[in-house]
Every structure is written in structure tokens, then in C-alpha cells.
Amino acid sequence: MLLKHTTKEIKERTALTVNPAKTCQPIGAMYAALGIHGCLPHSHGSQGCYAYHRSSLTRHYKEPVMAATSAFTEGASVFGGQANLLQAIDNMFTVYKPDLIAVHTTCLSETIGDDIPQIVSKAVADGKVPAGKYVIHANTPSYVGSHVTGFSTMTKAMVDYFAEPGGKKNGTINIVPGYVEPSDMEEVKRICSTMGIEIILFPDTSKVLNGPLTGRFHMYPEGGVTVEALKKTGRSRGTVALGNIASSAAAFALDTKCKVPYKLLDLPIGLHGTDMFIDTLRQIAGVNVPDSLTFERGQMVDIISDMHQYFYGKKVGLVGDPDQLLALTKFLVSLDMRPIHIVTGTPAGKKFGAELREAVKDVPCDVNIQLGGDMFLFHQLVKNDPVDLLIGNTYVKYIAKDEDIPFIRHGFPIFDRIGHSYLPTVGYRGGIMLLEKILNALLDRKDRDATDITMELVM
């Protein structure tokens, strides 16, 4: 047993987190900043932070993750990190020549109370920021929120720093894709391009964290939203924000700053999530949905109907990030599956809880929803009420192995498989891939459990 000390009996805990279902804000901010072209993310804290974030993101993407640090020492922690950040800005622009630096704070610099805009304005005054280059920032203390809110805050910073108010609105639509994979961002762009809609997607980590091997290392890969595009977001017709927790802050900010109206949607995971997304785009942009997308939708519906018997009634335990959990739960319910344990570590708020409860109201059994829970509790819930399928990040494999339950990987981090960088789970195509993953897990198990007599060739 890998997790042999996990008991079925659940004792109340108020202070100890065991096997967290979230991590800290700065890593989300770093991930978002990598979605700007030519950007060097910078961690204003001690060097352990960026070392951990880069390591985690690298293990997840198996790609270079470039970022820098203020490398606080004890002295900087007492006297403030201004000198370190000034030196870092100078060094980064001199040696690594980014178009912009995106600074995020940490628990250390936030506890000290470093004022980033003040330090940056000193860097500008000292001539350390070359003409035409930028330093932006987001406050992401690790003791608030989670990696998802860190992503959200850095995405909002892109609006705060760059979106230009005024000017004539054009037909472009802004899309804030949520804390999703590069493959998902690519798929959102493909769908929009198929529909003939001009979009600005931000952040955009596609072609940054799923790049090719060519024999040449590029510090700043081809992908990422450009600063020019970010500036233009203020003149777009509207913003579609996917995933309330990760994306709404940026959408609100654009509305407030530049009067760009927004529409908040679930992540386009699953049939209805994608339906809503495409239908909304159609209405905002005033275009017809091309037959090719309707065709893809039909394929997805076809698969669900063909294989419905294998989905029906299966119990699922999910652990992960709130926006993903909500969209996945709705998808699973639409397949007549039964998500019965739903756990996130992110403090996602009452409204989110209510929405999630609404999504499972027709599930004909008890459903445990834990916001601010951890994977130890998740495991205990599974022990008390076993499930047919587990969905979560790589750490869930320890639970899956101990309890001998089929498992599919979804979310962050996935350290032990590839695929998430290249194959989307959003849109109808992503939905088909997700269906295939779910079916493979369930049917492989069915084959494994079949006796010599009951083994089925055709399924």
C-alpha cells in the first residue's frame, strides 16, 4: 500500500492539510506570464520559489520553462527587496533581452510589503528599462487563493497594464481561456478560426509550452499573445471569459477599464460546455456556425449514444481545480454518470459551491462536495463510498493503485504522462478525446475483470 496510513474513519481537521489539492499563487502567475510572447516571468522572492515553480512546470510540460528570481537573502528579507529587483531587471534586460518582464510576488515579498510599482518606476527612472520594453506585475501572495487565482491575477494584470481604452470598437473578440493546457488554447483558436472570428486569446501558452525539437533553443518561443494584441483588447467588441475562477477578473477589468462587455461561461469541456461556447461566439460575432463544427458535434453525440451503456450509472470521484471540476461534473452528468466525490483545494467561494450543487442535483445518490479540501480527505471519501473511476492529477495515481480503481489524468500537475500539452479536452474534438480516455479506463478494467467465460470481443 502506498498510502497505508489513510484511514476510512474521517477525523475532523482544522489546521493540518494532508496531500493538498492545490498549490500556491505564484506558479499560476508564472504559467500565465509564459503565455505572453517574449515575456520573462520573474519571481520576486527567495530563489526556492522560482526553482520549485520551474521544476513543476517543466515536469508537467517537458519543455523549457524560463523565469528569473530576485534571490532574496536574509538581508533583503529584513531591508526589503528593492535592490534585488532593480538588479534583476537590469540583468534580465541586458543578458536575456525579453520584450517584457512579468513580476509576481511571493509570500516573502508580500509579508515584507515590497511595493512593486514603486520599484519598477525607480528602475525606469534609473534607465534600466530599455525603450519599448515593459515591466508588469501581479500581487500573488502564496497565503491567499491558489495557483488558479495566481493565474487569474496575472491575466488581469495584462489588462491593467496594456488594454487601451478609447478608440473605435472593432469586430475582434477577446477570449480568456482559463487555466487550461496549451493544447486547449490551440483548440479554442482553431474553433474560432473555423468560425471566421477574429480573436485575441490571452494568455496563450500554445507554441510556448508544446514546442518542437529543431536543434535550436529559443529563449522566447514562437507562441504567446503579443503586447500589441493585448493593447488592442480594449477595442474589441466583447470578451468571452472561460471559467469563472480563472478568467472573470480579467474580463471584469476590461469592462471597467475599456467598456468591453463580457460573457462568463464554463470551460468548454463536454457537449453542453462546448455548445454554449460556440453558440455564444456565434451570437456575439454574428456569424453562422460552419457545418464542419456541427459535424464534429454530431460525431461526439454519436459516440455517447454508441457507448452509453458503459457510462450509465458509473460513480466518479474528481479532484482538481474549480473551473475544471464544474465543467467536468456537468459533462459527466450529461453522460448519465454519477460524480459523487468532488474535491478542490482552491477556496472557490459560495457561489461556486451553489453552482456545483445545482449541477449534481439530479444525481440519484449522495454527492460529497468539498471546497478547500485535500486529497487525504478525498481518499477517505473514496474509501467510504467507492467509485468506478477517478479523475485528477498525477498524485491521484497513488489512490488509484491502492484502491484499484480506474483513473484518468486531468489537471495540474501531470508529471508522468504526455498528451495534455498536445491533445485538447476542450471543444468537440477535445470531448471526443476525453470520452475515449474515460472509455479506455472503464473498458480496460472490464476486460481485466472478465473471466474466461465472460470475456467479450466486441464492446
Binding site: 497505508k4 496510513h5 484511514t7 477525523k11 481537521r13 482544522t14 489546521a15 493540518l16 492539510t17 494532508v18 496531500n19 493538498p20 492545490k22 498549490t23 500556491c24 520573474h42 522572492g45 527567495s46 530563489q47 526556492g48 526553482a51 520549485y52 521544476s55 515536469r59 523549457p64 520553462v65 524560463m66 523565469a67 528569473a68 534571490a71 532574496f72 537573502t73 536574509e74 538581508g75 528579507s77 534585488n84 529587483l85 538588479q87 534583476a88 537590469d90 540583468n91 534580465m92 541586458t94 543578458v95 536575456y96 511571493t106 509570500c107 516573502l108 509579508t111 501572495p141 502564496s142 497565503y143 525539437l213 529543431t214 536543434g215 535550436r216 533553443f217 529559443h218 498524485y395 497513488y398
Partner: protein
């Protein structure tokens, strides 16, 4: 005049046909002048003097903000490296969630919980107080106390350790007082570490703090003397990928009794008992020499430097152990084991060496691996062009002979040096001064480490705390056949089209230690330097972009 000129020529060693001094200058050219001056002291072209002296290299100095390097923090060194691999301590990270999360199972320390009677194994778990804003403002001691209580109630461990993250030091939570109080209350060993990430200049500070804590709170708690004639501790071996298992196998074959390993496949019970061993062996000098020094002062256990990375190095280390115990039976047993193991090595090298010989490697990792792994590459006939440590000190590069000359700066001064004297009851020198002298005359040196540089070629580039910029320059200039470092460097190196071997995690392979490990390493390196994939980087149309005529299908 003529003599000077000759010396100059002799000093102008070429590295892989290139002038290393010129390459160094090119590396520095892109830095702001002040930074270039600082880095110049950390980039050294190796030279070996007639008396074995090597040039001075600045190391264990502050990381330069903004340069992008390899280092982690004090907490990572303390919790992640030294205490992490012990299966039966509940390690609670006191801080916001990130630090605990990132150090959760990511270092590949294997452990065999079946070897402990109670079977405790908390290594697959992550424990954190997950501090929120409220605790940052009003203090986190209450939450920490409650967390320790909950850890006890849920898991009933025999020990709980608490690790401070950056904000803990700033807000002034006293983890030591809380630990003492809970130790009293629960009746189990509870101890804290002030290993805030900002302390020191790298992981190295955390190693030192961990050494101090484990020496103060654990070593010597259990005086039971275990059976065995040749009792040793293995220090600085973390059982990445099962290295310690292979070393244990060899010890067992030789009849050497392993009391404890700090810390791989380890249990707190073994630490408590470590002072009953008769010899300390040091693998990773950087991370653990403090414990060895303190055990010698307090209990009289001498230490020697060993290296079980490389088949020849393993044989040499075993002979050192036999030499120390001065037992003909042990010496005979050791020789028998070496003779039994080496033929397999020879057989493997006969097959593999022709495909690796002459290839060139670079390695930038840790505080000992960049040195130790040169042994394995030598066995493969490969040359190390450039190497350096992430968090080594001058003694790891230049040897312990420079210890008296090392300037203790403000960052190091903040890390406590424990005052340790002989234990009134338990100090027992294992060898008399006379015996030690005799052993030294036979070539067994105690409390000595020669460092990396004396074993490297003159002209090779030794670079401390390598930056991304310098790594890129090295790769572009030399196009090495293999580059070794950690996960953060892995894919940037490979984008250059150069295979990259992780020497922290072994790319999830291994073990690489001992005899069987050496064979695993030979095979992995041979696979990597000869992999077909590096020839597939260009598509046919990129190789021949010119269209000379329209392609016509045969009728």
C-alpha cells in the same frame, strides 16, 4: 624571460581544441560590468600545481538576481534533501501551501518500509499548515500546534518535524517553542527547523541546519549496540533511484554492518543509534560533513570520504573500509566481492566503451555529483570538458585544505555552528592517535576530501552556480555529446539538439551507484549519446529546400 614564456605556453591548455580563457571572456562579455567581475571569479580554468593545488574559485556566494540559475532554497535543502527521505518522521511544512506541495515525492527517494518493524512510511504524504492571510497577520503558532496534534491523532507517528518557510521567520513564529511544548504533551519526539527559504545562499544552508537539528534532537537518543563486527554509517546518500539499496547489497556481501544512512532508505530509529557505529563514510561531502564532524567530536567516530559512483571508485572505497578496520578477513572478503563483481563490469564495458569512447560530457549538479559522476564517464572513456556545483563550497572544489582560508561572509555567519564537545560518558575514540597515524602512513586519510578540481584536466572549465546564459554559451561553443544537470535545464539543453541526463532524478532510472548501478549508467549513457533521434531534427525538405524541377510521376 624564456622561462616565463614557456610557463605561459604550458598554461595555455586548449580545451577540446579551443582556448577556454577566450570562451570565458566571451561568456562574460554579455554581462553588465559589475556582474561580469563577480562571475569571473566563479568561472575558473583549471590548473593543477606541482603540489596538487588548484586555483581559487568563488563559491557559496550570493546568487545574482535575474541571471537564471539552478539553485533552490534553504528549505529545499533541509526538508527536501536531508530530512525528506526518512520514512517514519512526519515532516510538517509550516507555511503557505506551495513549499510543501513542491517537495512532495519529487526527489525519488526510495524506501523499504517493510524493513521497519512498525512499517511506518509517511514519504508518500505531504503535510502542511497551509498558512492563510489570517495567520500571517496574527501569527501561526496556534495553527501549528493544532496541526501537530492532528498529525498525531491521525497517524500516531513516533516523530514529527516542523519546517519553517519564508514568512514564518518574518512574522516570528517560534517553531522550536511549539515543538518543545508538543513534545512534552504528546510524549513523542517533536523538533523544529528554522530553515526559511531566504537563509544562506542556496540549499547548502538548509543542509547545515538539518545536520544541526538531527544531531541535536535525534543522534544519540538510543544507545543500543547492534551486533556486527564492522559497523559503519553511510552519510550523504539519499537513495535516489535505489542507489542505497545497491550499496546495502554490497555491504551485506562484504559483511559490513550498516547502522544508518543519512538519509536514504532510512528510519529515525537508525539515526538515534548512529553514534554506536565505528566509522562514518561520507558520500556527499557538502550536505552532510557537519554531522560527521560533530559525531567525531562528541562520540569519537572518525570519518572518511568515499565514493560509490563508478565501479573502480566503489572498489577503492570498499578497500578503504577494509583498511580502516585492519581485519584480514574483511580485506579478503572485500577482495572476493570485488573480484566477483568486476568481471560483469568488464564484460559490459567491452561492449559499450567502443560506442562512448572519446565523447565529451559536461555536468553541473549538486555539491558532489558533478565530481562523482566524472568517475563513471572516465570508465566510459569520456572526457568531462566542464563541470561545476550548484551549491558547493570552496572545499568541495579545491579540497578541505582550503578550509582555514575560507572567508565567512554575512550569509554563512547566520547559519549556526554548534559548539560540540566530547560526551562525558559516551565519547570513545575508535582509534588512538598512534593508530590513526599508522593508518595515515598506509594512505588512509581521515576527515579529508580532495575536492573536484584536483581530479579534472588542466584547461577544463569549472563553473560555480552556472547561469542559463553560460550554459547556452557552453553548449553552442562545444556542442558536447551529453550534458548533465537537473530538471529545469533538461529541455532547454535538449532543444539545442544535445542529449541531457538528469543527475538529480536520473531521468527516473537508476540505480547508478555501486557495481550494478555502474552498468545501468553505462547503458543509459550509451543509449543517449547514440540515440537516433538527434539525427531526425530536420525534415527532408529542410535539408534540401531547393525545388529543381517539378516532380513527374511515371506514366
Amino acid at each position: 624571460m624564456a622561462r616565463t614564456a614557456n610557463t605561459e605556453i604550458a598554461d595555455k591548455r586548449l580545451l577540446d581544441g579551443k582556448d577556454p580563457e577566450k570562451i570565458k571572456q566571451e561568456m562574460l562579455r554579455d554581462y553588465p560590468p559589475k556582474i561580469a567581475r563577480k562571475r569571473a571569479k566563479q568561472i575558473v580554468i583549471n590548473k593543477i600545481g606541482p603540489d596538487g593545488t588548484v586555483p581559487e574559485i568563488a563559491s557559496n556566494v550570493r546568487t545574482i538576481p535575474g541571471l537564471i540559475g539552478q539553485r533552490g532554497c534553504c528549505y529545499a535543502g533541509c526538508k527536501g534533501v536531508v530530512l525528506g527521505p526518512t520514512r517514519d518522521i512526519i515532516n510538517i511544512t509550516h507555511g503557505p501551501i506551495g513549499c510543501g506541495f513542491y517537495s512532495w515525492l519529487t526527489r525519488r527517494n526510495q524506501t523499504d518500509a517493510g524493513a521497519s518493524p512498525d512499517g511506518h512510511n509517511f514519504m508518500p504524504y505531504c503535510f502542511s499548515t497551509d498558512m492563510h492571510e489570517k495567520e500571517i497577520v496574527f501569527g501561526g503558532e496556534k495553527k501549528l500546534k493544532q496541526a501537530i496534534q492532528e498529525a498525531y491523532d491521525n497517524f500516531h507517528p513516533k516523530a514529527i518535524a516542523v519546517f519553517s518557510t519564508c514568512p514564518v521567520g518574518l512574522i516570528g513564529d517560534d517553531v522550536h517553542a511549539v515543538s518543545r511544548e508538543m513534545k512534552e504533551k504528546l510524549g513523542i519526539n517533536v523538533f523544529g527547523f528554522s530553515c526559511e527559504g531566504y537563509k544562506g545562499v542556496s540549499q547548502s544552508a538548509g543542509h547545515h541546519i538539518a545536520n544541526n537539528g538531527i544531531f541535536t534532537h535525534v543522534i544519540g537518543n538510543d544507545d543500543t549496540v547492534r551486533e556486527g563486527e564492522f559497523k559503519i554509517n553511510l552519510l550523504g546518500e539519499y537513495n535516489i533511484g535505489g542507489d542505497a539499496f545497491e550499496i546495502e547489497r554490497i555491504f551485506e556481501k562484504c559483511g559490513i554492518t550498516l547502522i544508518s544512512t543519512f538519509s536514504g532508505n532510512s528510519s529515525i530509529d537508525q539515526f538515534a543509534n548512529a553514534h554506536t557505529a565505528d566509522l562514518n563514510l561520507i558520500m556527499c561531502h557538502r550536505s552532510i560533513n557537519y554531522v560527521a564532524e560533530m559525531m567525531e567530536k562528541k562520540f569519537g567516530v572518525p570519518w572518511i570520504k568515499v565514493n560509490f559512483i563508478g565501479a573502480q571508485a566503489t572498489a577503492k572505497s570498499l578497500r578503504k573500509i577494509a583498511g580502516y578496520f585492519e581485519s584480514p578477513e574483511l580485506a579478503e572478503k572485500v577482495e572476493a566481492v570485488i573480484n566477483e563483481e568486476l568481471p560483469e563490469i568488464e564484460k559490459e564495458l567491452t561492449l559499450i566503451r567502443p560506442r562512448t569512447v572519446g565523447k565529451r560530457a559536461m555536468m553541473f549538479v549538486g555539491g558532489s555529483r558533478a565530481h562523482h559522476y566524472q568517475e563513471l564517464f572516465k570508465e566510459l572513456g569520456m572526457e568531462t570538458l566542464s563541470a561545476g556545483y550548484e551549491f558547493g563550497h570552496r572545499d568541495d572544489y579545491e579540497g578541505r585544505r582550503v578550509l582555514p582560508d575560507i572567508h565567512v561572509d554575512a550569509d554563512s555567519r547566520n547559519i549556526e555552528e554548534l559548539e560540540v564537545g566530547p560526551d562525558p560518558d559516551r565519547f570513545k575514540p575508535r582509534k588512538s592517535a598512534e593508530e590513526l597515524k599508522q593508518l595515515a602512513a598506509k594512505g588512509l586519510t581521515f576527515a579529508e576530501y580532495e575536492g573536484m578540481m584536483s581530479e579534472m584536466q588542466a584547461g577544463s572549465m569549472v563553473i560555480d552556480d552556472l547561469t542559463q546564459h553560460e550554459a547556452d554559451k557552453l553548449i553552442e561553443t562545444f556542442k558536447p555529446d551529453i550534458f548533465c544537470a537537473g530538471i529545469k535545464e533538461k529541455y532547454a539543453v535538449q532543444k539545442h539538439g544535445i542529449p541531457m541526463k538528469q543527475l538529480h532524478s536520473y531521468d527516473y532510472g537508476g540505480p547508478y551507484a555501486g557495481f550494478k548501478g555502474a552498468i545501468n549508467f553505462y547503458r543509459d549513457i550509451e543509449r543517449m549519446v547514440n540515440s537516433k533521434i538527434w539525427g531526425f531534427l530536420k525534415a527532408p525538405w529542410e535539408k534540401n529546400p531547393e525545388l529543381s524541377a517539378n516532380y513527374v510521376f511515371d506514366e
